[in-house]
């Protein structure tokens, strides 16, 4: 059925679908809001002044372009493919999240919205949102699962320092998906002045496409940066990124979707292993299609369609769904999706620290763990670009606990 695809870069269609996936599964109250958002985004997308504002802030506030770094000792250690890191962990606020937040908040300001709401899991999207709201003097409310508020205390404090109100979510099981539910409940209540800044490539159309477009700066930079270092016309042979909702991965993958020579690999959080105990967050490898949070995508769910909790050492990958475009890329076979366990990610975390002097977040540690599996079997001229989408400062407590290191000095 998908043999006729001429381009993988034209989606979504007018209904916001990527094949079967995506769509606008929201209550009637929100429907006029997302239609307005779509219209305003479609306008902004082709408005040079919008992108001029983005480029200026990306450069002077975020620190873009982020470097594309050849990792020599890791490459030597693995003994195969040449490994590059796209250093999005060097962005202001420490992860790729701010790429998207800037775009949405510039759009919100143009729409005259004065109040910004967001959901957050590990707190990276919440911190990025609070940061940009502080910069523009906007009211900011961040919904965060009560469980995550407890285990991500430093990020909660950061958000509060930045002037945001952090609302601990106790409904449901008090995790990221419940935070998203409560953000949607807030939006449905405060429809006039509020803009919902979603942190990943999920939610009702136009969010998956809009967030992808803002994050695509990652892949676009990789294209010219690799040419600069490896010669004109040189594309990566393989691109690898970690996936929770999948925004950093979509940002890296999207500009390469129509280059058939580029292998695309998404790495899901395998938790304690992708099996029937369901202690993982691998929606594509361990879930099936369903409808949640405004879109149809692969979800972790029971046979009755009740949503299951994800499980991962990384709070940023702890989501039972995945962006609909990934679901489509999976089903069409354009991208490959694999999973990595907590234990493998922890090993990769340590290797990056020791060999490259880079403390990675646990999210990209999953991507790195997969690079460690494939690089040794690939020839030396094969180039892998991995998205180092966040830094590990936020994770050192979790890692210390798992390595049995007592942080009390």
């Amino acid at each position: 059925m998908d043999d006729g695809i001429n381009s993988y870069m034209t989606g979504p269609d007018e209904q916001g679908r990527f094949g079967l996936f995506g769509g606008r599964f929201v209550s009637e109250t929100l429907m006029p809001l997302i239609l307005e958002l779509e219209q305003r985004y479609e306008f902004a997308k082709t408005d040079p002044s919008f992108w001029a504002e983005m480029d200026d802030l990306w450069k002077h506030y975020v620190g873009r372009p982020s470097p594309l770094y050849f990792a020599p000792r890791l490459t030597e250690h693995l003994g195969g493919a040449k490994v590059y890191f796209k250093r999005d962990e060097l962005n202001h606020t420490g992860a790729h999240k701010i790429n998207n937040v800037l775009g949405q908040i510039i759009l919100a300001r143009r729409m005259g919205k004065t109040r910004i709401i967001a959901e957050t899991g590990a707190g990276q999207h919440g911190v990025a949102t609070a940061t940009v709201c502080a910069k523009f003097g906007l009211e900011c409310v961040v919904y965060m699962g009560a469980h995550d508020v407890e285990r991500q205390a430093p990020n909660v404090f950061r958000m509060r320092l930045l002037g945001a109100k952090v609302v601990p979510v106790t409904s449901g099981r008090g995790t990221l998906k419940d935070a998203m539910n409560d953000a949607l409940r807030d939006w449905v209540t405060n429809v006039r002045d509020t803009f919902y800044c979603i942190g990943t490539v999920a939610g009702p159309h136009p969010y998956p496409a809009m967030v992808r477009d803002f994050q695509s700066i990652i892949g676009k930079e990789v294209r010219w940066q690799l040419e600069e270092q490896e010669g004109k016309g040189r594309l990566p042979d393989t691109v690898v990124a970690a996936i929770g909702g999948g925004s950093n991965a979509m940002g890296l993958f999207f500009p390469f979707l129509d280059d058939p020579s580029v292998n695309i690999i998404g790495v899901e959080a395998g938790g304690k292993g992708v099996d029937d105990r369901m202690q993982h967050c691998a929606s594509l490898t361990g879930g099936r299609p369903g409808v949640l949070h405004g879109n149809r995508t692969y979800l972790l769910q029971d046979p009755d369609g009740q949503i299951l909790e994800g499980f991962s050492i990384s709070a940023g990958l702890d989501y039972p769904g995945i962006g609909p475009e990934h679901a489509w890329l999976h089903d069409t076979g354009r991208a490959e999706y694999v999973s990595i366990t907590d234990a493998e990610a922890l090993e990769a975390f340590q290797l990056s620290c020791k060999l490259e002097g880079i403390i990675p977040a646990l999210e990209p540690s999953h991507a790195l763990a997969h690079v460690m599996k494939i690089a040794p079997k690939l020839p030396r001229e094969h180039i892998i670009v991995m998205n180092m989408c966040g830094r590990g400062d936020k994770d050192i407590f979790t890692v210390a606990k798992h390595l049995g290191f007592d942080m009390k000095v």
């Binding site: 209904q15 769509g23 606008r24 599964f25 929201v26 209550s27 009637e28 109250t29 929100l30 429907m31 006029p32 809001l33 409904s171 449901g172 998906k177 419940d178 539910n181 949607l184 409940r185 449905v188 209540t189 405060n190 429809v191 299609p289 369903g290 409808v291 949640l292 949070h293 405004g294 149809r296 979800l299 769910q301 046979p303 009755d304 369609g305 009740q306 949503i307």
Partner: protein, 267 residues
Amino acid sequence: MPALQTRIDRCFARLRAEGSKAFVAYIMGGDPDPATSLAVMKGLPDAGVDIIELGMPFTDPMADGPTIQLAGQRALDAGMTMDKVLDMVRAFRQSDDRTPIVLMGYYNPIYARGVDRFLADAKAAGIDGLIVVDLPPEEDEELCLPAQAAGLNFIRLATPTTDAKRLPRVLQNTSGFVYYVSITGITGAATAQAANVAPEVARIKAATDLPVIVGFGINTPNAAHDIAAIADGCVVGSAIVKDIGAGKPVADVLANVSALAAGAHRA
């Protein structure tokens, strides 16, 4: 749409003939456990309920406030499933073939079962209509159109954000009645004000011949009266579910339902 002759249509024909407003009661299927929930359901018609909205529990009820969220969790914790919701309806139908039953909930449990299978099972169990919160007109091909073809009413929500331009689209494939959501917000939160709701109901009634029933934010007999007076009837959910959640005996739950129904019927 072709005129469907469901229990809902017959119910409104009867109410019109009597000059009475409709009182619609919502309970969560299986809350706090399947047996108690069925006992409450069976008592609703005698308490004055014209139409029963039966909630299908879902882990992620994005349009619901804490009261109904907790009800869904209690039901799921008590082992409620879609099969058991259908069992409840079958059991109810053994003694009542008249009162319309509308299933209300979210799309994923229906999608997980398979739309065709769900519609066949729902129809066979004695369900008359569906309200699925996360299926706006833009997604009509998913369930709305197949449901109408299967002889089930698909009842659409209209809201304060449904503007004049959008209203015809919302009404287009709606049948049975129109459910006007009186507030922007979630169930059981703000209180509906009849003075604000009246012009909105009039706006919708000018665009459709279907009955317009108002829900969200109605929690006392007086509020039921005031809202029913400016519409074709009203829905009460959280105020009933709250009693069930507090562990009140079935008779007490039903006594409150009677008071609410009397309020609506006075209108």
